[in-house]
C-alpha cells in the first residue's frame, strides 16, 4: 500500500499534527525566519549537496557499517543488525547534523557558531566542524553535565571551542539550551545556532531530521544487500530529543510494516520521580519554541528530568516523535539506568563494542520487542562509550 500522506513532512508552519510550530519571542523571529525561508533551497542546491556528501564520506567516515551482531542475535533469538554510528568521526551520530548545519551557516553568511550540549557529543561535533571551517564556537553546557562528561569538555576546549557553564535551573541540557537561545537573541546577525536534536522552533526539527536521515537511507541499501529486503521488521533507537531516532526512522516512516521503537530513559523507574520518560510523563506544552510533549507540573513549569545518561535527560521530545507516538506510528519503551548499564556490559562482552550510555537504552529494549527468529531488527548504535568510562567505572558492580 502506498501511503497517501507522509509522516516525514511538517506543514508549512512546522506542525506534525498538533505538535511543532515556532513559539519564539520577537527577538528571535528574524533569525528563525531567515533559516526557515532559506534552508530548503540551500539544501537542494547541488553544490551544497556535493560538499556535504564529500564531507560525510571523507571526514565523517560514511557510510557507517551495518554489522550483523551474531552473538547478540543468538541471545535474543532474532536477527540483529547494528547501525554503527559509533564509528562516525567524534564517536556519535551528532556530527551528521553539524557538518550539514555548518555548511548551511556559511551559506547564510554567519561567522560565529553557538550550540548547547548535554552529553557533550553534540558540543564536540560542533566544535569539530567549527575547527574544520575556522569559525569561532561557543558551547553551552550545564554545570552538572560538565562534571559527568569531563572528557568531552576537554575535547571541546582542545578543538578551540569556548565552553560556557549553564548555572540556571537543573544545570543540565534544558538550561544549556536556554542559554544558547539567549546568546542567539543577543547576537542575531552574525551567529548561527547549531541545535543538537530534532527539537526547538521550526525549521529545526525538520532540518535536523533531514540531515540525520542519511542513517536510514544507508540502512535500506545495506539491508537489501545483507537480507534481500530493504525493510527490517523493527528499527530501535534511543530518544533524548530524538535526532538519532529521527534519522534511523526517517526512510521507514512511510513503510507501515516496519515497527519503529523509540526508547526513552526511565531513570530510576518511570514513576519514581527520577525519570526522563517524556512519552509517559509528558503532556502537551511549549519548550524551547516548540509545542510538544514535555514534563511539567500542573502549573506549566517545566520539571527537571533525570537519567544517569546526560544525553537523554531532556524534559521534552522532538515534535515529530510526539506526533508519531500519538498516532501510533512509533512505539515507546522506557529503560531504567540499571537496565541500560546491563546492556552496556552485554554488548561489550558479546560483540566487543562498548556503547554510549544513551545507546545502551536502545539495546536494553531488545528483550521487550517480541521479535522472533525470522525477524530482522536494526538497532541504531548512536554512539560509543568512551565518554562514559567514568560513569561505567563508578558502576562497575552493575557491569560485571
Amino acid at each position: 500500500m502506498t501511503p497517501t500522506t507522509s509522516y516525514q513532512q511538517p506543514t508549512a508552519r512546522g506542525y506534525y499534527g498538533q505538535f511543532g510550530g515556532a513559539f519564539v519571542p520577537e527577538m528571535l523571529y528574524p533569525n528563525v525566519e531567515e533559516l526557515r525561508t532559506q534552508y530548503l533551497a540551500i539544501m537542494a542546491d547541488p553544490a551544497f549537496q556535493a560538499e556535504l556528501q564529500a564531507l560525510l564520506r571523507d571526514y565523517v567516515g560514511r557510510p557507517t557499517p551495518l554489522f550483523e551482531a551474531k552473538r547478540l542475535s543468538a541471545k535474543y533469538n532474532t536477527r540483529i543488525f547494528l547501525k554503527r554510528e559509533d564509528l562516525c568521526h567524534t564517536g556519535a551520530h551528532k556530527i551528521n547534523n553539524t557538518v550539514g548545519q555548518i555548511l548551511l551557516a556559511q551559506r547564510l553568511g554567519k561567522t560565529r557558531i553557538i550550540a548547547e550540549t548535554g552529553a557533550g557529543q553534540h558540543g564536540v561535533a560542533t566544535a569539530t566542524v567549527c575547527a574544520l571551517m575556522g569559525l569561532p564556537c561557543v558551547v553551552y553546557m550545564g554545570a552538572i553535565d560538565m562534571e559527568r562528561q569531563a572528557p568531552n569538555v576537554a575535547r571541546m576546549r582542545l578543538l578551540g571551542a569556548e565552553v560556557r557553564r549553564a548555572e540556571s535551573g537543573s544545570q543540565t541540557l534544558k538550561d544549556a539550551t536556554n542559554e544558547a537561545i539567549r546568546d542567539w537573541i543577543a547576537n542575531p546577525v552574525d551567529t548561527h545556532y547549531i541545535i543538537g536534536s530534532v527539537v526547538g522552533p521550526h525549521p529545526y526539527p525538520d532540518l535536523v531530521a533531514r540531515l540525520q536521515s542519511v542513517i536510514s537511507e544507508e540502512m535500506r541499501k545495506q539491508l537489501l544487500e545483507k537480507t534481500g529486503s530493504e525493510l527490517p521488521d523493527f528499527v530501535v533507537a534511543c530518544v533524548g530529543g530524538g535526532s538519532n531516532a529521527a534519522g534511523a526512522f526517517y526512510h521507514f516512516l512511510d513503510e507501515p510494516e516496519v515497527r519503529l521503537i523509540a526508547v526513552e530513559a526511565a531513570g530510576h523507574g518511570i514513576h519514581s520521580g527520577h525519570s526522563a520518560a517524556t512519552s509517559v510523563l509528558g503532556t502537551p506544552g511549549i519548550i524551547h519554541g516548540s509545542k510538544t510533549l514535555l514534563m511539567q507540573d500542573e502549573h506549566g513549569q517545566i520539571t527537571e528530568p533525570y537519567s544517569l545518561s546526560a544525553g537523554l535527560d531532556y524534559p521534552g521530545i522532538g515534535p515529530l516523535h510526539a506526533y508519531l507516538g500519538e498516532v501510533g506510528r512509533s512505539e515507546f519503551i522506557a529503560i531504567t539506568d540499571d537496565e541500560a548499564l546491563t546492556a552496556v556490559a552485554e554488548l561489550s562482552r558479546l560483540e566487543g563494542i562498548i556503547p554510549a550510555l544513551e545507546t545502551a537504552h536502545a539495546l536494553a529494549a531488545l528483550g521487550q520487542l517480541g521479535a522472533g527468529p525470522d525477524d530482522v531488527v536494526v538497532v541504531n548504535l548512536s554512539g560509543r562509550g568512551d565518554k562514559d568510562l567514568e560513569t561505567y567505572l563508578k558502576n562497575m558492580d552493575k557491569l560485571v
Partner: protein, 259 residues
Amino acid sequence: MDRIKHAFASKTNLLNTYFTAGYPRLHDTIPLAKALVEAGADILEIGMPFSDPLADGPIIQGSSTVALANGMNLPVLFEQLKGLRAAVPETPVLLMGYLNPVMQFGVEEFCRQAADVGVDGLILPDLPLAEYEEFYQETFKKYDLKAVFLITPQTSEERIRRLDRLSEAFLYLVSGPGTTGGTTLPDAVVQEQYFERIAALKLRNPRLIGFGIADKAGFDRACGHAEGAIIGSALIRALEDVADAPAAAESFVRGIKQA
C-alpha cells in the same frame, strides 16, 4: 474606560515598571503595585514567573526562580489580584509571561480571570503573531484584554506595520539585541538611529522603550525618543535582600521620576 488609552492621552514620559509576582516574598505583589504607583509609576507590568524564561536575563530569571520557590503560580496570583483595583484603581496593569503556564491554565479561563481582577493587557513574548491572530485574538478581545507586541532593531518595517495594526495598547520597543537587563546594547548612535527610524514611521500606537534601562539618565534618554520607557531588571535588583520591598520600590521610582 480604557485605562491604557487614558494614561497615554493624559500623561507624557510614562514610566512602566515590571516586577515579578511573588518576589521577593510571595505576598509582596499587591503592596508593591501600590507602592510603585504611589511613587509615580504610570503603568504596571506584573511578571508571571516561569521556569524557563527565554527572553529574560539573569536578574529576572533569578526573581522568577525565587518567586516559584515562594509558591507563586497562576491560581495564587489571581487570588492576590482580587485586591488589585482597590490598591491601584486607575493605573493600567499588564500581565507579562510565557505561553506555557497560560496554556496549561487554559487560555479562556486565564483571560476571564485576568479581566475579572481588572487586568488591562497581556504581554506573552513567545506567542507567535500567526498563532495570536488565528487562535488567541478573539478570546483576548472577548475579555477586552489588549495584546502588547515587541519590536526589535531586526523587525522589518512591514512587520512593524502589521504589529501596529493589531495593537490597541502600545508597542514595546526592545532597545537592542539581548534579553531583559540588556546585555549587549549597541552603541548610542546606532540605538538612536533605530529609535528615530521607528518614530519616523508615524505609527498609530504609542511606543515604550525597554530592556536595559536602569536609571534616571537612561529613562530620560528613552523619553526623548518615545512616549516613555519600561524598567524591570533594575527595579528587581533594588528589591534584592531588602527588609521592606515596597519602601525600596518607592524610593527607586522616586529616583527615576524626580524632576
